[in-house]
Symmetry: C2
């Protein structure tokens, strides 16, 4: 029913293998017969069967995108990157297939099974798994090209792409300091996530450099959610009422903080300066527009795709760090003078 290579062969009085060669631009096919084949293919509406090709070549053009299962709210980065990954990959003839793993039910070997059953050409592991998650062990033993985001995995066929979190947090904190703030709070995300550690490191580094002492109650851990940020800023301010600025480890918590603060009669940035992290596009339309550290999701996504291609084509792995950029908007007040 679906027209196949045989139909073309019959139609052109050729052997299927010749048709195959013609279709795939292989060596030595008379230009004329090639044209005949191409024309017939078009005319008959031939569409190659990828499963057949995959079967015989034992390898396809599918790239698995692996994400932790959760709702959209929790993974802005994934969605920001996906279109770019998808596009770049398709420029190399690859297609993407998305798999969501429940991080709490993951069992070792699952990833590998997935790869085998679809004969995946490679995979990209999105951020969001805990830093010591089992999946990273599996990746170490993979003999399939892979790119891991935000986590470093040492292995033959695995590259990783990171945001330079320390740098980003450092920039944010420096910005606060240079605007006259010295009593700065920090609302961090869950401790068991790698990037949280790094963002904290950057925060502390900036403070140390400026000789500002960090009191332990200036730092609070929350859950990266809007509500979490709102609750956190309140208890932070309760513990340390003299804070003039708060650095939030993501934009969502920053917005949650601003929003609850506003309901409590605060005016941002007049009463408290806020800076976020992530650079969600919506921050530009926030009230006030949110000063934040913007991950370069476009670059991150593109780089992930390119790194994967490099492993596939040249077996060349690498570790890249992409620097995020401080975007100064209106949520920080200059309190010098």
């Amino acid at each position: 029913m679906n027209i196949s290579i045989k139909d073309i062969a019959r139609h052109c009085n050729l052997n299927p293998s010749t048709v195959s060669r013609a279709l795939n631009n292989k060596y030595g096919v008379k230009p004329e017969t090639k044209k005949r084949v191409m024309d017939a293919a078009r005319e008959l509406g031939y569409v190659p069967s990828l499963s057949a090709r995959e079967l015989v070549k034992q390898e396809g053009n599918l790239i698995g995108i692996i994400i932790p299962e959760s709702d959209a709210e929790a993974q802005p980065a994934f969605f920001a990157m996906l279109p770019y990954i998808n596009k770049k990959l398709s420029a190399y003839g690859m297609e993407t297939i998305i798999y969501a793993f429940d991080p709490y039910r993951y069992i070792n070997g699952e990833l590998n099974k997935l790869i085998q059953k679809r004969r995946l050409r490679g995979c990209i592991i999105m951020p969001g798994f805990m830093k010591e998650h089992k999946i990273y062990e599996d990746i170490r033993d993979l003999n399939t090209p892979s790119v891991v985001m935000e986590v470093t995995v040492q292995s033959e066929l695995c590259s990783s792409i990171h945001t330079d979190e320390v740098y980003g947090a450092y920039q944010a904190t420096k910005h606060l300091i240079s605007n006259g703030h010295s009593r700065i709070g920090f609302i961090n995300g869950p401790e068991y996530i790698q990037i949280c550690e790094e963002r904290r490191e950057g925060f502390e580094k900036a403070l140390h450099e400026s000789g500002i002492l960090i009191k332990s109650h200036d730092i609070i851990y929350s859950d990266f959610s809007g509500n979490g940020g709102g609750a956190a800023v309140l208890s932070l301010l309760d513990q340390a009422p003299d804070l003039t600025a708060v650095f939030c480890a993501n934009d969502l918590m920053a917005m949650g903080a601003v929003s609850t603060l506003a309901e409590h009669g605060y005016c941002i940035p007049r009463d408290l300066s806020i800076v976020g992290f992530d650079g969600m596009f919506i921050g530009a339309y926030y009230n006030p527009p949110l000063t934040t550290v913007q991950n370069d999701d476009v670059k991150l996504g593109l780089q992930a795709a390119e790194s994967l291609i490099r492993i596939i084509e040249e077996k060349h792995t690498s570790q890249e760090w992409i620097k995020p950029e401080l975007i100064i908007r209106k949520s920080v007040q200059n309190i010098l003078s």
Copy 2:
């Protein structure tokens, strides 16, 4: 190198076909041999090759998710639904593969080619294509199950899921009216998008019902973007300074409006009431928390997946309308009294 059904057969002294039957729970396989096969499969680490299965069955378990190519900012709905679609589908043993089409370069037949080359089991067309886009013609002639979102396509194997936009816009406008507003502006999205027409219809319906006259300059068309919303609200207010409320056809424009208005010294909702549409989760953390019409993306996504399954399994198509819900937060002021 990859272990196959033959290896199991050899290992168990069986014929590959028996192994196949055992593995697939087919009729008549002695429970004992079945167990032997299962054990061997586990022991040898057998992983079935989907391409082989697809090839012989001429059908796989892949569902194509079709989106218009653009960056994440432009398609919050897609991302909100994706996790639910993905999960529901995988509960039925289906996997999802994402294809982004450039809406301006789409040529007729492309979708069908895609389906053929991967022998897709079905596909879901996400919102975002223009209402008269060629892709919808192609869907009409498809002999593959499909579900279309936000657009109605009449066809044998095609269901569609809609948000009841008219209802949503009606609710929003009613809410404004019941809070005492009668001079209400409307910032709509691009005219060539189907949902914009419907949202406008709901808006006008509510106004008519309450005997409120609509002046033509109370309605302005923008582009669904944050910046667009900001610019639109300014010129709207310029044309009609007596407006006390503005209904925006999406949250992004609503936020853009609030944000630029704030920079111009307005205080929302004191000086102007705003209601959005979409129910982006971030609206809850907006300043002020945004009153909006919330699309039930969870239900929408789940429904899309279920409808597709129903076509696949029972050839049963349907047209569903999902009612969005007015979420009352803090961006509307009651001006009665």
